[in-house]
Structures are given as C-alpha cells and as structure tokens.
C-alpha cells in the first residue's frame, strides 16, 4: 500500500470512529471491560498460581531404603533421581539427621525424654532421600518408578496435598481459559456490530468505490483501521487502570494486613505487566482486526 493511500485510509478510519461516536465509545468501553477483566484474572491467577507453586515446593516425597541396602544402591537411587526432569532437588538425610530432626520437632521442651534413646537411634532404618518436585502432578508417576528400584523399601508421599494442589492448578487454568474465551467472543461481537453500523452508513460509498475500481484491500482498510484503533484504545485504558490498581492493592495489603505477608507474597508489578502489556495489546488489536475483517468480508462481494 502506498504511503498516501495509507494515510488516506487511516484518516477515513478515524472519520468512521468519529461518525459513529456512540457505537465506537460503546465498543471501546466493552473492549476496556473485557481487557480489564482479562488483566484482573491474569493478575489474580498469576499470584494464585505463584502461591500454589510455593506450596508445591514445600511438599516432598521421602524415599526409604531396604535395611540391607548397600551404599552403591543408595548412590544409584540418587543418580536416578538426578536424571528425572520432574525432580527439582533432592538431598540425603542420614538416620542420625532424621532422629535429630524428629527430636527437635516432637521433644521440644522435653529433651530429657529423648535422652533415653541416646545410644540407640530409634530411627536407625530411617535414612532417606527427601525429594522436591518441579510439577507436583508428576508425583504419582515418580513414586511408582522409585518403588521399582533396587534398595528402595518404601516411598512416602502426600497424595492429598499433591492432588489438591494439582487440581487447584488445573481449575485456575480452566476458569481462566473459559473467562477469556467468553470475553473474546463478546468483544468480537461488539466490534463487529460497530463495524456493521459503520458499513451501513458508508454503504453507498463502498458500492461506488467498488464500481469505480477499488480493490478489496482499499475498501477494507478504513474499517480495519477503525477496529484496530478501538482495540488499541480499549486495551491501553485497562492496562493503565490495572497498573495503578495493582500497585495500590500491593501497598494497601502490605501496610494494612502485614500479618498476611507470611502467607501471601504478591508478584512484583514488573513481572505481571511484562506479560500483561504485550498480551493485552495483542488481544485488543487482534480482536479489533479479526472483528472488522470478518464483518467487512461479506460486504465486498459487489
């Protein structure tokens, strides 16, 4: 497209928006609402996922060895663990360390009771590998694998915790995708309506253009400009709103409910908006482009 044609069509697109002020405003408002909700869900979802991830990181499985397991067998189990992609980290806990940890946890304040076991470690067979996972949904598979290895007596896992966290992750993803799909459909429908009004106002002009030799791309361009501008404006407004809202919420929660800081850690603004800005702009502009292109298509058959 030539430069003067580009500017002409850009100007026509702006004129379209101005001519249908009310419909354009309605479309921008809807787009703003859609992208705002998207941003809100994304921010909440990302933070929630982060919390789940943190919780997941705290869930470990414990691999106990056969009483007669040789050091080679134990080392071999360690080697196998290091090869598994789902394993984030693992460390060896000796029987003495296990007993020390048990004492600290269960004999706190009554250390003298534990002294009775001073020379006889009751957890003599409790040397183990403590294994942490990248993805807790892989826990079952890893446990089955570990149980098949030589020298492994028992693998202890927290099935309930793993299942709950895994299900929660899935639920968040499903809700997120569902909401986004509905919002996109609504936005495309409304943009399409606005473009249809624009087309009906310019029906005669389009017909004349076609009869005097305008290419489809030339007829289409102002409407695509219109859709893209609506999409762009409709995504910039909610991004600005969300930016200030997010900052305010973080500061507010941190100051007013500092007791929650032990449980909730918000992702920094930069982390959220590093993804949210390009995705929202792409979504807004994309919806505007697709909505206007689909609508104008059926009016080009002159």
């Amino acid at each position: 497209m030539k430069l003067n044609t580009f500017f002409y069509n850009f100007g026509q697109g702006l004129k379209n928006i101005w001519r249908n002020k009310l419909f354009s405003l309605a479309s921008i408002a809807t787009m703003t609402a859609c992208i705002f909700l998207f941003g809100l869900f994304y921010s909440i979802g990302s933070n929630f996922k982060q919390m789940v991830r943190t919780a997941e990181e705290g869930v470990a499985i414990t691999v106990f060895f056969d009483p007669g397991a040789t050091q080679d067998q134990i080392d071999n189990i360690g080697n196998e663990l290091s090869k598994r992609g789902e394993v984030k980290e693992y460390h060896f806990v000796s029987a003495d360390e296990a007993w020390e940890s048990f004492k600290t946890e269960y004999f706190k304040g009554k250390e003298e009771l534990a002294e009775g076991f001073a020379n006889d470690n009751p957890l003599a067979n409790s040397a183990n590998y403590e294994v942490y996972l990248n993805d807790i949904s892989m826990q079952g598979e890893l446990v089955t694998y570990l149980e098949s290895l030589d020298g492994v007596r028992e693998v202890k896992q927290s099935e309930v915790a793993a299942d709950t966290l895994s299900d929660m992750n899935k639920l968040i993803s499903v809700i997120f995708i569902g909401v986004i799909a509905i919002l996109i459909a609504v936005a495309v429908f409304l943009i399409s309506n606005t473009i249809t009004v624009g087309i009906s106002v310019r029906k005669e002009e389009i017909a004349i253009m076609k009869l005097i030799g305008a290419k489809d791309s030339f007829v289409r361009a102002p409407f695509i400009v219109e859709g893209v501008i609506i999409g762009f404006v409709g995504s910039v407004i909610p991004l600005v709103l969300l930016f200030f809202m997010y900052q305010t919420v973080i500061v507010y929660v941190a100051e007013k409910y500092n007791i929650l800081n032990n449980f909730i850690s918000f992702l920094p603004v930069g982390t959220i908006f590093h993804v949210l800005i390009p995705v929202s702009l792409l979504l807004g502009i994309g919806i505007g482009y697709v909505g206007s292109r689909l609508t104008i298509k059926k009016h080009l058959k002159v």
């Binding site: 497209m1 030539k2 003067n4 044609t5 002409y8 005669e204 002009e205 017909a207 004349i208 253009m209 076609k210 009869l211 005097i212 030799g213 305008a214 290419k215 489809d216 030339f218 002159v302």
Partner: protein, 227 residues
C-alpha cells in the same frame, strides 16, 4: 470494444431480464440503449460492469472475456470503464473537488497526479469555479457533470451512462448529452441507457432498442421509428 454473444440473464425468480442478446459496439462509437422500464437495460449495464454474471452467453470487453476475469482482477477491469448513474451517486459529505479526486484515490493514484488531473477534469465539465461546493449546493445538471468528471478522471476506454438525464430538465439534459458527445469525440466509447426519445432523436446516433429482454432493433433513430 464491447461484444455480447447470445447473452441471457435470468434472475432467481425465473423471469429472464435479457434473452439471447448479441451486440457489437466498436471502439469510439456513441450508442444509445433504449427500452421501457423493466426491459433489461439496467441488467445490461450491470453485466458490462461485471456486477452480475450472465446465465448464458459470453461478454467481451476490449477483447477480454468477462467470465474469465476472477474476483481479484475485477478492480483493474472496472478502472477501464467509467460509469454515470441517474441519481448521480455523489458523496454528499465531500465537495466537488473531493468527489472527483475520490475516483483517483480509490485507484491509489499519486497525490501529484490527483492535483494535476482533478482541475483539468473540472474545467472540462465547466465546474472549475465550484470546486469547493457540496453536492447539495449544486443543481441536478451540475451534479451530473461532477459525476461525469469522476467517471472520466481515470481516463477510461468506455463510458457507461445509466439514465444520465433521468433526473434533469430538458435544458440540463441536453447539455449533459452535448458533454457526452464531446467526450466521445475525444475517443471514448460512450454507451447511454435512456428512455428519453426526444434526446435520442436529436442526437441521431446508433440506437439499440430492447423489449422484454430481447434486442428488437439496432440501427439509426429512423430504423427504430420504422420498426
């Protein structure tokens, strides 16, 4: 230049608008197409602009078979044909200059060319002084002259005029006809659809008379009268 071979056009309702029409119009000719309302004149114009496709038969323009032109190439084909309508079909929110320039912008002509050609065309149709006027500020005859300027600014080989004097009084109608004749004398093939017998008689050009979708006579005005 324009050739129709056994062309028929039947709409979905089943009534034939054109029935086995064969016409040959040479380059540089001035031809009237006459007939009563519903005789098939407008269908003929639509077929020539490839707004419609014939049900049967072939149409050739400048040697090209229209049925072989795909959707993508229709714009290039239409740029060689200027078209004028009974109701002028000007853009009401744009002035005279912009209406004529519109035809050049649509074909993505450079700005320099637009600035050079539009004033020339407005001079040709004697509207240079009114270039800033909006269509509603012009008389019917002036509006039709703007429409003619718009149709000609891309220097088409053929000018199709569908009832160009239908909304005009006798004086304006005659002026428009003289303008079309002048354009024809400059080399453009002109096809005028009309039912204004007085003008056709005075112009004394070739006349194709269509009745119930069929060509009943093709010749000078006198031949029509005899028929």
């Amino acid at each position: 230049m324009i050739k129709l071979e056994h062309v028929s056009k039947t709409y979905q309702e089943g009534v034939p608008a054109l029935d086995d029409v064969s016409i040959n119009i040479e380059k540089g000719e001035f031809v009237f197409v006459m007939g009563k309302s519903g005789s098939g004149k407008s269908t003929l114009i639509k077929l020539l602009l490839k707004e419609l496709n014939p049900t049967e038969g072939e149409i050739y323009i400048s040697g090209k078979n229209l049925s072989k032109i795909n959707h993508k190439n229709i714009p290039n084909f239409r740029r060689k044909i200027g078209v004028v309508f009974q109701n002028f079909r000007l853009l009401q929110d744009r002035n005279v200059y912009e209406n004529v320039a519109f035809a050049l912008k649509v074909v993505e002509a450079p700005t320099k060319e637009i600035k050079r050609k539009v004033p020339l065309m407005l001079s040709l149709v004697n509207l240079a002084a009114k270039y800033k006027s909006l269509p509603r500020q012009l008389s019917g005859g002036e509006q039709q002259r703007v429409a003619i300027a718009r149709a000609l600014v891309n220097e088409p080989d053929i000018l199709l005029a569908d009832e160009p004097t239908g909304n005009l009084d006798d004086t304006n109608a005659w002026e428009i006809m003289k303008l079309l004749e002048e354009i024809n004398e400059r080399g453009t093939t002109v096809v005028v659809v009309t039912h204004n017998t007085e003008i056709v008689r005075k112009m004394n050009k070739r006349v194709i008379y269509i009745k119930n979708g069929r060509v009943v006579t093709d010749g000078e005005w006198g031949d029509i009268n005899e028929a």
